[in-house]
């Protein structure tokens, strides 16, 4: 129970960073913190007491395995997260070359 709550607190810390920070790189960091907490949440869901890693040994068939499905989902989600981070960093470096700053308050052409 406490692990789930801590995991959600990590998620909220990331969200706090995204909303309050005024620096492009800090926003990217906060987004990846949110991402990691979500992965951890899925991994927690799959754990079963006394279970072993889901790799079958044909010699020893009767074992309890942890749930492989959340692990497969996280495997997919990690790569998706890498893709989004890479795209975000590309936009950030592009914006830095245009404006010469990471400060979001000075990058405000569009409003209203």
């Amino acid at each position: 129970m406490i692990t789930y709550v801590l995991c959600f607190i990590l998620f909220l810390v990331g969200m706090y960073g995204v909303i309050t920070m005024r620096n492009l790189v800090k926003i990217a960091i906060s987004l990846s913190i949110m991402e990691f907490s979500t992965f951890l949440f899925f991994a927690l869901l799959g754990y079963i007491d006394g279970g072993v890693a889901p790799i079958v040994n044909p010699a020893d068939p009767n074992k309890i395995y942890v749930d492989p499905l959340p692990q497969a989902l996280v495997l997919t989600a990690i790569v998706i997260g890498l893709a989004t981070t890479a795209l975000l960093m590309a936009v950030i470096i592009r914006l830095y070359r245009k404006y010469g700053t990471f400060d979001i308050r000075e990058i405000k052409n569009l409003r209203g």
């Binding site: 044909p58 470096i93 592009r94 070359r97």
Partner: protein
């Protein structure tokens, strides 16, 4: 981007090949041990990135066009799609059917199409991550400050 000192270069020469081989091992044993296409692909990309960082980006002579890697990546993905579609054709009209014989659990050549998926996904992931890194580096050099 310029390379680093001679010490780094020599060490990289020794290590990069081993990292590369380890990536191939992880890919090839993906259906037996932890790891698989994604992990192995990222490790191989890591070996390339290490070499790029040590020797400088002109080591790869790809400054103008990242043509090579894009084609590898597109081809690898299209092969994944083709293997999926091959299930569609050979299997019972089902997309992503594992249509090859399964073999004995625990052998290196087993599990039907899974090793093939592992290999091609590994190629695709390695190519994509390396191309992302390379284009960032090249952009940093070419664009005006």
């Amino acid at each position: 981007m310029k390379g680093m000192t001679i010490i780094v270069k020599k060490t990289t020469q020794l290590i990069a090949g081993m990292i590369f081989m380890y990536g191939i091992y992880v890919i090839a044993h993906g259906h037996l041990t932890p790891g698989g296409g994604f992990a192995g692909g990222v490790i191989i990309a890591g070996a390339f990135i290490l070499v790029t960082l040590a020797f400088g980006s002109d080591f790869f002579k790809l400054l103008k066009k990242e043509m090579g890697t894009t084609i590898v990546e597109s081809l690898a993905t299209i092969i994944v799609v083709l293997i999926g579609s091959a299930g569609f054709l050979f299997g019972t009209n089902v997309f992503f059917n594992n249509f090859l014989p399964k073999g004995i659990v625990g052998n290196l050549v087993s599990a039907g199409t899974l090793p093939l998926y592992n290999i091609f996904v590994g190629m695709e992931v390695a190519a994509s991550i390396f191309i992302i890194f390379l284009s960032l580096i090249i952009f940093k050099e070419e664009s005006p400050k």
